[in-house]
Structures are given as C-alpha cells and as structure tokens.
Symmetry: C2
Subunit: 157 residues, 2 copies
Amino acid sequence: MQTLTLSPIGFVHSPFAEPSQVPRGLGAKHEEEGILEVLPEFEAGLKDIEGFSHLYVVWVFDRSQGYELEGKPPCDDRSHGVFATRSPRRPNPIGLTVVRLLRRSGRQLHVRGVDMIDGTPILDVKPYLSNVPESELRRGWLAEAEARREGAGRDRA
Amino acid sequence: MQTLTLSPIGFVHSPFAEPSQVPRGLGAKHEEEGILEVLPEFEAGLKDIEGFSHLYVVWVFDRSQGYELEGKPPCDDRSHGVFATRSPRRPNPIGLTVVRLLRRSGRQLHVRGVDMIDGTPILDVKPYLSNVPESELRRGWLAEAEARREGAGRDRA
C-alpha cells in the first residue's frame, strides 16, 4: 500500500469554533457535549450502537498543515516525539477521541467529551470495549510533567 | 474536506500471515508479540515513547475490500451496524489496536497484543493516556452475546 484515500463518514458539531478554544494541556477536562452527525448513506451502520457507553472517534485534523517530528506540547517545556504526544501536526493528521455516548437520534450521536472543532470530518466510529489494567498503565513524560508541576505548586504554596 | 490521502509511517511485523489466523470473537485474547517498525524518516517522532506502557496503533485493513453497513460478527448470530463492531469491512478501512509497549529498539517498537497481520501498514501511533471509568462502561450487544453464550453453556452443563 503506497497511499490510502479516505472520505468523511460524517462531521462533528462542536461548541468549539476555533482550535484555540479547545482546552489543552495537563488536567484539561473534555466535558463538552457535541454531536457526531453521520452522513445519510451511512446511517444503517449505526444499528445497535446505542448499547455502548463509550465510542472511539477517528477524525481528521483538517486545519493542521504539515508536521513536526519533535515539539513541545502545551503542558510541558520539554520536547517530545510526535508519536508520544497528541499533537495535531502529525505525518498523518488523524485524531482519536474517546467520547461518552449520551443518546442517539437518527443519524446524530449526542456525545460528551468532544475536543474537536466544529465541522471536523469523521473517518470512523468504533465501540470502546475494554480498559487497560490500571495497575499496568504508565504515562511517561506526561506523568513526569504533572509531577514537576505539582512540585512547583507546592514550592509556591 | 472531500478526501484525505495518507501514506504509511511504518509496518507491522506480526506472527499472523493471514487474517484467518488472528483470534476473533468473544473472549479472543490478543497476547501475541509483534513489532511496529517505523520508517527511517519518522524515527525522530518516537522520542520519549518508551515511557508509555500502552499505545494506540491506527492502521489499515489493507486486505479488506469494500464495506458492509450491517453484518454478523464472528461472536454473535445477530447483525449489527458496522460502527458498533470492529469489522474490517468499513467505509474507511481503518483499524485501531491498543498494544502494550515492551521495549523500543531504534525504530522498532516491540509490543504485545497485536491483532494485525504481517505487513499491515501503520498510519499513526499515539500514547494511551487514560481509561474510561469502569463503572460507566457498557458494552451493548457484545455483553448481551456473552451473556447468551454463558447461558447456553449453563444449559449444556
């Protein structure tokens, strides 16, 4: 496979009009509600999706231009490789978000936890099936950055 | 955005030569080890990935042809919408797998939990950052199919 050409299966309705409005960085909560609207020709593919509490949304950073293999994320002053971050400036501009499914209304999925901007193209939706064992989960530089910030907070206190 | 054209950032080395060898269905365990090999030009993007225990791998069902909006998964005798399943026959043939990162060796990521076949093109790798609250997790038709199977097992016993 040399290249793969994809088309949206739908679009996101989000309260965020611009990338700058999306909460970013350590401790950012994504509690905003939005709608995943699937195109009419794909509505049949939503059958039985209502039974899942959470969904993966695979989407496109369509406002992002080019990529950067290393960069400083908003929550750290050190640079990290793009595949160790959620940077929008990726070789393939694919975003991935876990949302909570609140309800379905026809071809609209009402969800909580959007971090995409309004009009974002959706490539795929999949059911979220299982967690990673919590005892095995390690979050690398992100955990270190959080620890440094908490340490700085204590120093200021 | 009408269409998006993507190219692989790397390829999977997997013990599975054919799709039929990949364990499927209810209770399928994905404990096989494999390697995510990133192309040389993207190696710098792996910086600091070692600190994460788990990764998302976004990949291509490159042996899949066409799609089906409804179908019966291997673990159920009822049909479900494609967006409520992990079927390879999706409008956009994108696969998503959570793997455990065992170690990095240059541009090779040794991982456990591959369910891709050998040579699968990789589109993106992202850090796995957090679980969904276990108390909120519902798995729709999959939980129902499991319960039916367990019931059938008891009937036979």
